[in-house]
Structure formats: structure tokens, C-alpha cells
């Protein structure tokens, strides 16, 4: 098992390295002279030359590439063109917001999606099955930004049940920052009012974000369970008298879950993509809004840094997913040879 984990980690490295190189290539492909852009409009040629030397932009490309890689590996993503602050710092500031939202959305998707898929499969061709099928296909076709706006319209504007935007009421203010996660920090500070407020702010964005994922997971659980139900070992188990509930919940699910676990890895990627739009609509101060702002202000350093960070997190999640899969289905670890 340990060998499998190490192998899996090693497999992820080339792609990440390639990604770092890719971002370097992209950053150099930008039209215009980066030194001139950094120097600003009122720069003289002398100032531009000085900046060029300072940033090493006059060195040969290969050397620049090395510098870039070294910078990335030490966490130096340069300074934001827009705000002038170090990009790494800004990303770190906003990362917890996105992670909290994504994580809650993931939980919703999994803990609602799996049972839905399971019941649909056990109720094959029945009413529940058809309902779940419709929900799963519909959930994937829904544009998250549209759903977000519709939900806002209904719950926040018309019914005034839930807050419209942000992570917490402006009047209350954020809990003292320990982890950056509102839910955790308010618990740590013992402020239940902040906790409840934070949760109410999380509801709409998390539900919006989770819907496509919920749909996918329900779908894959359903087809996974259906497939397992066809297998001979289920027939055998029925013949020898396995308890019906245990059969469904534990025996069958364990086999179908591997498919779902793979989906979770891909789902995470989709969640991060979805977060961009959802954050933009709910004014959620995370990486999503940061990216949108970076696009508008042509802050390429920020955007490329976000790309790298997201790629890295995505890779870590995928490794975790593969390891989880190996734990659930021991055959996986042995196939790697």
C-alpha cells in the first residue's frame, strides 16, 4: 500500500511540472513588453531597461524558465499588477473561502447523491428511479450562474429568507481568523451567532455549487449499483441468504463506491470551476472572485498563479482519491505494476 501511494505521488509530479512550464510559456506569450507594462505609462526607456534587468527579463529564455520554476517552488508568484501586493499572499488570503465553500458543496453532493443513486438503483424503473434520473440529467444541464441568480431571486429577494451575498453579515463581522474558515473559526471563538450566520450565508452558494456534482454522483452511484446487482456474486449472496438490507447497503455499495470515488476527484475539478461563477454572483471573497478581478484588470500574474494553485490542489485531491480507492478495493493497489 505504501508503495502504491508513493508511486501515485510520483505519477502526479510530471503533470505538475509540465503545468509550471506551461504557465511560464503562457506568461511569456503575452503580447507587449512585460517590462514596459510593469514600469507603467510614464516610464522612460532607462527606467524600463532598469526594470528589465531587475526582473531578469534580459536573460536568455532558458534561464528565465529556471528562475520561474524556482520562484514557483518557493511560493513566489510575483506581485499583482492590479494591487501591487504579492500574489501568493493574496491567494492565501482568499483560499480558505473557496475551500470552505467547495468542501461543503462536496459534502452535500456526496451525502445526498449516493443515497439517491442507491435508492434509484434498488427501485429500478420505479418512480424514485425515474425522478432521480431526471434530476441527474437536469442537474448537469443547469448553468450554475443562472441557478444562482434564480435562487437569489426567489429566496433572497422575493422571500427574503436567506442572505443575498457574502460570507457573513457586514454588521456582525468575521470571527477572529484562525483557520480562515468561518464555520471553524466561529466555533473556536465560541460565537454561535456567527456560526449560524455563517451557515445561512453558506446555504445558497453551496447548494448551487453542489447541484451538478450531486447529479453526477447520483448518476454514477445508480449505474454502479445497477451494474453490481447484475453480478454473479450478488446472486450467490442472495442464494446463501445474505440479509437484504446488509446486501444492499454494505455488500453492493462497497463495490459501486469505487466508481463514485473516482468521480469525486473529477467532481472537485468541476466544483472549483463552478466556484468561479458562484463566487462572482454571491460576492464570495474567494479565488473565484479573485480570478474574475484578475481577468478584468488583465492581471496575468495573478491568474497564472491561481491556475497553478488550483492545479496543485486538484492533483493532491486526485492522489487522495486514488489512495482511497485502493483502500476500498484492494485489487487496485496490485494492478499498478
Amino acid at each position: 500500500m505504501a508503495r502504491y501511494v508513493i508511486r501515485r505521488l510520483l505519477l502526479a509530479l510530471p503533470a505538475l511540472f509540465g503545468l509550471i512550464l506551461l504557465t511560464f510559456v503562457l506568461s511569456r506569450v503575452i503580447p507587449g513588453d512585460p517590462a514596459a507594462t510593469l514600469a507603467g505609462d510614464a516610464a522612460t526607456p532607462a527606467m524600463i531597461a532598469e526594470i528589465r534587468a531587475q526582473y531578469g527579463l534580459d536573460r536568455p529564455v532558458i534561464e528565465q524558465a529556471f528562475i520561474h520554476v524556482r520562484q514557483v517552488l518557493t511560493g513566489d508568484f510575483g506581485k499583482s499588477v492590479f494591487s501591487g501586493r504579492p500574489v501568493a499572499e493574496e491567494i492565501l488570503q482568499r483560499l480558505p473561502a473557496t475551500l470552505e465553500l467547495t468542501f461543503v458543496a462536496l459534502l452535500i453532493a456526496v451525502f445526498l447523491g449516493v443515497p439517491l443513486g442507491l435508492f434509484a438503483a434498488l427501485n429500478h424503473n420505479g418512480i424514485i428511479d425515474h425522478l432521480v434520473r431526471v434530476v441527474s440529467v437536469g442537474g448537469l444541464a443547469l448553468a450554475s450562474f443562472w441557478l444562482a441568480i434564480m435562487l437569489q431571486l426567489l429566496f433572497a429577494m422575493e422571500l427574503d429568507l436567506l442572505p443575498l451575498r457574502g460570507r457573513i453579515d457586514v454588521a456582525l463581522g468575521m470571527p477572529p481568523r484562525v483557520t480562515g474558515f468561518v464555520l471553524l473559526d466561529s466555533l473556536i471563538a465560541g460565537r454561535f451567532d456567527l456560526l449560524m450566520n455563517g451557515i445561512s450565508h453558506l446555504i445558497l452558494p453551496a447548494i448551487t455549487l453542489s447541484l451538478p456534482g450531486l447529479a453526477t454522483i447520483a448518476r454514477f452511484t445508480r449505474s454502479g449499483v445497477l451494474e453490481v446487482l447484475q453480478k454473479d456474486f450478488v446472486l450467490y449472496a442472495q442464494a446463501v441468504g445474505y440479509g437484504r438490507f446488509r446486501l444492499a447497503a454494505i455488500y453492493v455499495l462497497r463495490n459501486a463506491v469505487t466508481l463514485v470515488v473516482t468521480q469525486i476527484g473529477l467532481l472537485f475539478g468541476a466544483l472549483i470551476s463552478g466556484a468561479v461563477a458562484v463566487e462572482a454572483i454571491f460576492d464570495w471573497p474567494g479565488l473565484g472572485t479573485y480570478s474574475v478581478q484578475a481577468i478584468i484588470s488583465a492581471d496575468y500574474k495573478a491568474l497564472l498563479a491561481v491556475t497553478l494553485v488550483v492545479g496543485f490542489v486538484y492533483a493532491v485531491v486526485n492522489v487522495l482519491v486514488d489512495v482511497a480507492q485502493a483502500i476500498i478495493d484492494p485489487r487496485v493497489a496490485e494492478d499498478v505494476a
Partner: protein, 323 residues
């Protein structure tokens, strides 16, 4: 005479499919007394697998039982419920590769069954299982508990399944051609193993196969099926030495051991949705006459326990018995 352990009377099973209703089993009557090994033999398509599934209570969703009785230890499973029989009927399936859940350890899977249907504590179960593993000659019985199915070879898996079938101390063992997926040497070993275990524990055995050699080696009695009906049944020695039904005779003549007459039987087994009227074998039967396409031949006794479903059997081909 003691009442039979398993008694099937006039059982019919229909399966509804896209092409219509398939009358897979039609009026099957068969009984297995305690301590007796009964073989069920026939070509593919004769319904023997469906018969097994009916006994075990795992018929597919689109199957229905229009009439018949299936009594196990006096209880009619069709009326009551197959749960009365679970744990008391051991099942040895055909394919050792597909019958075990790959993501659970072998020991855990089997002990889960024992938890529901066997006496004793968990420790007792573990001990019983290790003893059984030893009895089926699995290498490293203690270690086997913790292994996953894919860590065993095909022959070992089949032994595992035999042990699993015996784990809850059943009275009847039901086996579905359990050696077809294995190589010849392993087949012989497994069959010998089963024979010994069955006689040691005094179990009854219902053994489905298409191989007469296996049948002769293992079973006291035999029932021959064709297209969902019983055509002949009796003591193995009687039926194999003096087959009476034309189908049985042709079938035995085809047996590869009989190098003399390698006749195939002309024609094919009818599709289950288009069974012929009257005797289902008549289109391929060498001694068929007009009456055969109109009336279903009843099972007639020929002294002792030999039954034949053909009124014209004396006119059949010269005897080609299995020596």
C-alpha cells in the same frame, strides 16, 4: 420410507421476455431423499439452471411460477418463503471466479453468512471455518480467512465455495456444474472431495451437470431433463446401463467416451418461447409417431424407481448403455 428432504411436484416456471413467455420448466417432478445424491443432467437450454435457481429462491424478476410445489423439509417454499430454507441448503455455484465479492475478505464474507444462519459465536464460526478449510484441503487454512478472493487460484476458490456451502451445516447441498470452469485435473480432485464430504456428513446432494462421466462417479440417482421436462429418471446404474427414453439413448451415444458411435442428435433444442406441442422431443425423435405431437407423454414407472416419459420406448434404438 422417510419423507424426502426435497420434493418438487409438477413445478412450472415461466419467464416473460421480449420475445414472449418462455415456458422454461413444465411440470417437473423430482425428489431427493435424505442422504441421496441426485444428478440432474441435460443439454444447455434444458432448464436445469432455472431448476436450481427455483430451489434456491433466486429466480429472476421476470419469472413466475404458475403452478407446482417445492417442498423442503416439509415446508412449501413457494407458499411460505425461501427464507425457511436459507442456511439449510448449501450452494456450490458454477463459476468460482465470479461468485465471490472481490472487495471483501474471504473469511469475512463467509462468516457474514454464518452470522445469520449458523449457531455459535464469532469465534466458533472462525474455528468451524478453519476446520472446513482443512477438510477441503485449502493450503494455509488460517491465513485463508484474511485473504481476498483474487489471491486464490481457481481450484482454491472452488474449494472455498464448497467450504462456504458447508459452513452452516446444511442438510442439502445444491451444486451447479461446479467444475466446468476448471482444468481436468482440478476437476477430478474437486469431485472426489465433494463425494467424500457428502458421504462423510450424510448430506443430500442435488448436482446439475451435462457430463455423464461426472454423473456416474458422483450420483446415486439421476433425472434427465429435456426442454424443461423430465424425460427419464431413476437409479444412475439403471438409467445409464439401460436407458429407455430415445433422448437418453441418443445422448449417451454421443458421450465422448463412446468412441464407437459419435452421432450428434440431429436438430437443435427448441427455443423456450416456441416449444413443440405434445412431446417436446418429437421433432428430433427417431421413433416419433403421430400421437407424439398431440399428447404430452406422462412419466411411467418401469418397476423399482425407473421412470420414463415415452410410451414407445420398447421400439427405441438398440441399447447403447454406458458400461
Amino acid at each position: 420410507m422417510t419423507s424426502p428432504l426435497l420434493s418438487i411436484q409438477d413445478l412450472s416456471v415461466h419467464i416473460r421476455g421480449d420475445a414472449g413467455v418462455a415456458r422454461i420448466l413444465d411440470g417437473i417432478t423430482l425428489s431427493v431423499p435424505p442422504g441421496v445424491t441426485m444428478g440432474v443432467v441435460g443439454e444447455s437450454g434444458c432448464g436445469k439452471s432455472t431448476l436450481l435457481r427455483a430451489v434456491l429462491g433466486i429466480l429472476p424478476r421476470n419469472a413466475s411460477i404458475p403452478h407446482g410445489k417445492l417442498e423442503f423439509k416439509g415446508k412449501d417454499l413457494i407458499q411460505v418463503n425461501w427464507s425457511a430454507a436459507r442456511g439449510r441448503i448449501g450452494f456450490v455455484p458454477q463459476d468460482p471466479y465470479l461468485s465471490l465479492n472481490p472487495v471483501f475478505r474471504a473469511g469475512d464474507q463467509i462468516r457474514e453468512i454464518m452470522r445469520k444462519h449458523a449457531q455459535g459465536t464469532r469465534k466458533d464460526h472462525a474455528r468451524t471455518l478453519i476446520d472446513l478449510f482443512r477438510a477441503v484441503q485449502l493450503p494455509d487454512p488460517v491465513g485463508a480467512l484474511a485473504k481476498y478472493p483474487h489471491q486464490f487460484s481457481g481450484g482454491q476458490r472452488q474449494r472455498l465455495l464448497i467450504a462456504a456451502a458447508l459452513a452452516c451445516a446444511p442438510d442439502l447441498l445444491v451444486a451447479d456444474e461446479p467444475t466446468t470452469a476448471l482444468d481436468v485435473t482440478t476437476q477430478r480432485e474437486i469431485l472426489a472431495l465433494m463425494r467424500n464430504l457428502v458421504s462423510d456428513k450424510g448430506l443430500s446432494l442435488l448436482f446439475v451437470t451435462h457430463d455423464f462421466g461426472v454423473l456416474a462417479a458422483l450420483c446415486d440417482r439421476v433425472t434427465v431433463l429435456y426442454a424443461g421436462r423430465v424425460v427419464e429418471s431413476g437409479l444412475t446404474s439403471d438409467v445409464l446401463r439401460h436407458p429407455q427414453h430415445p433422448y437418453t439413448r441418443l445422448l449417451l451415444a454421443c458421450h465422448p467416451d463412446r468412441a464407437v458411435n459419435l452421432l450428434g442428435i440431429p436438430g437443435t433444442v427448441p427455443a423456450a418461447t416456441q416449444q413443440p406441442e405434445g412431446c417436446r422431443f418429437h421433432p428430433r425423435c427417431p421413433i416419433a409417431r403421430a400421437a407424439c405431437s398431440k399428447e404430452v407423454p406422462p412419466l411411467t414407472p418401469l418397476g423399482s424407481s425407473h421412470l420414463v416419459a415415452c410410451p414407445w420406448y420398447p421400439d427405441a434404438l438398440p441399447e447403447q448403455a454406458l458400461a
